[in-house]
């Protein structure tokens, strides 16, 4: 089944105002272009689930797309703070943000339970943490095998999950390598799933290395080719991370008006991801070029 479609169509087809949407990717293969398209289409009242925040969280907040956030790390990686987010939390400026907070382990457990259609997942790490005191959705169950009670976190089943990967075939068999984060679980946990990829490849490419598939076709609703769709985050084997962009964001976003200007010019003022990339300058990706380091083939041979 051909599930390829354009990014605007995929977002407009599978996202609704008020949805809980998971955008996952841990500093690598992050669906940035998809986040920008959500801004372009003006969605509102979304709840964003994202373990490790980054510039797109500030951008979605600045664009008034979000009413809530579910996360476990809310800095801009090693590049500084996310000031739009801090204004919302520290000062309710311009308005309050509903924020449900976990640790990374708690988010992993939530996605895992969601993917497995379990009501909750036990987790061993929350005893004595104020995080459990602050978040009423972190509960506990008795241990019927005689140990102490154990904390549990509830399943997370986003209405829509979006992930980015190196490649997929048109059916939706998704392949990724390098740091894989929580993408497989987020994909299975989602009620709907969009996958953006650097390249759509012939299914023979996928089938030459089936262990590399992180999400099988039947879980996927839409496959979208978006080259450089993860910028400013890296894609292993495709391009490097753009730390300068991320650092500049942490400077720029100290000024709320600058965030609005940036969104107006770079996102709302561009019609698609290619136009956004053009705003970076034509030689921008030259300094993000990577060297090649190909894996050695393994033998999948069997009985002929």
């Amino acid at each position: 089944m051909d599930k390829t479609m354009s990014l605007p169509r995929a977002i407009s087809t599978y996202l609704r105002d008020g949805d809980t949407v998971a955008l996952e990717g841990f500093g690598h293969i992050v669906p940035v272009a998809a986040a920008h398209e959500i801004i372009r289409q003006g969605f509102t009242d979304l709840v964003l689930a994202r373990m490790s925040c980054d510039v797109i969280v500030d951008q979605l907040l600045g664009a008034n797309c979000l009413q809530g956030l579910i996360s476990s790390f809310i800095a801009n990686s090693s590049a500084g703070s996310l000031h739009e987010l801090r204004r919302r939390i520290e000062k309710s400026d311009p308005k309050p943000l509903w924020f449900e907070e976990y640790s990374h382990g708690g988010m992993v457990a939530r996605y895992q339970a969601g993917a497995a259609k379990l009501p909750f997942q036990p987790i061993a790490s929350y005893r004595g943490s104020d995080l459990a005191a602050k978040n009423p959705r972190i509960k506990s169950v008795p241990d019927p095998y005689g140990g102490p009670g154990i904390h549990v976190v509830p399943a997370l089943n986003p209405d829509l999950t979006i992930i980015h990967a190196q490649r997929a075939d048109m059916h939706g068999n998704v392949q990724a390598w390098g740091m894989l984060g929580i993408q497989t679980e987020a994909a299975f946990a989602g009620r709907r799933l969009i996958v953006t990829v650097e390249e759509i490849v012939d299914e023979a490419v996928v089938r030459a290395d089936p262990n590399r598939t992180i999400v099988p076709a039947h879980v996927v609703d839409a496959v979208v080719a978006v080259p450089r769709g993860s910028h400013p985050h890296s894609v292993q084997g495709y391009y490097d991370r753009d730390d300068e962009f991320s650092r500049q964001w942490s400077v720029l976003a100290r000024d709320a008006a600058a965030v609005q200007d940036w969104l107006e010019t770079n996102i709302r003022g561009t019609s698609d991801h290619d136009e956004f990339l053009a705003t970076l300058g034509s030689d921008h990706f030259e300094r993000l070029v990577i060297h090649d380091a190909y894996s050695t083939p393994v033998n999948y041979g069997g009985r002929a």
Binding site: S103, S125, D130
Partner: protein, 277 residues
């Protein structure tokens, strides 16, 4: 939160030449060297980028040749050609021994109690090694300053056999009597809670600061100043600590970084001085 995130967002202003050692050794070098030495006998280390990465690399070439580094991004045994810029820098991947999905890292490695030492940072630490990396202020809903939050710090604290805390700046604002928020509780704090699994390890056993080294080993033991760096008055460490700091009767003076350690750091491990500021 791993050390590096806090480190770069909160305290990067104090990277001047470290005068207290009376030498040209920078504060970063001092912390890296003492962190590395403390890794003797430890084999599996969970670390953030920056100082912990440097410390582990130095330990590999000195006190602990078999040490294996594990990053929160799921990478083990990384041998990057240059210093990683964050724990999710894809430079960690080519040539690594494994890249695990995050479920394996959090469930099987951290919660699975496979880590000997985890390096953490924090905005605040108390006398029992409980850590705050969530917020500063009285009002949890509207803190004065909202920090990055746990990341995997809670899981590292609960699952690793020991925690090494590296604090660039030893001040009463960071070494406090009472945390504004207990993000990552040590075993004493956990034991006082009514439910949940007890942490597997000892919590914070070493705190390495620009003034000296604190240690603790038992659940109910307070952090004790066991060593000061050359030229540091122990009274200064006490003054810079927000609780009534115990000083060991066997207080030692740390051995200055050796020329061989400094050469490894400067010429081999971080020649462009990304972290050795």
């Amino acid at each position: 939160m791993t050390l590096s995130a806090h480190d770069t967002t909160e305290t990067q202003t104090r990277n001047q030449i470290c005068e207290i050692t009376g030498s040209e050794v920078t504060s970063s070098e001092l912390l890296a060297v003492h962190s590395a030495r403390a890794l003797a006998g430890r084999n599996v280390v969970f670390a953030g980028h920056g100082l912990p990465t440097l410390a582990v690399s130095l330990a590999q070439q000195t006190v602990s040749p078999d040490v294996e580094i594990v990053y929160e991004s799921g990478v083990t045994g990384a041998k990057p050609p240059a210093m990683p810029r964050s724990i999710s820098d894809s430079i960690l991947v080519p040539g690594a021994a494994s890249v695990m999905p995050m479920t394996h890292l959090f469930n099987y490695i951290l919660q699975g109690q496979r880590i000997d030492v985890a390096f953490l940072g924090a905005a605040q630490v108390d006398k029992y090694g409980n850590l705050n990396s969530t917020l500063i202020g009285e009002d949890w809903e509207h803190p004065d300053s909202r920090l990055p939050g746990s990341g995997g710090a809670i899981e590292a604290m609960a699952g690793a056999a020991e925690i090494f805390l590296v604090m660039r700046r030893h001040t009463p604002r960071t070494f406090v009597e009472s945390l504004d928020f207990v993000t990552s509780p040590g075993p004493k704090k956990a034991a006082e809670a009514e439910t949940g699994s007890m942490p597997a390890g000892a919590g914070v056993t070493h705190v390495i600061t620009d003034l000296g080294i604190m240690t603790r080993f038992d659940q109910d033991e307070e952090l004790t100043l066991t060593a000061v760096h050359p030229g540091v008055d122990p009274a200064e460490a006490v003054r810079q600590t927000g609780w009534d700091l115990q000083v060991s009767s066997d207080l030692e003076t740390t051995q200055s970084p050796t020329q061989s350690e400094l050469t490894l750091l400067r010429e081999s491990l971080d020649p462009t001085r990304i972290y050795l500021r």
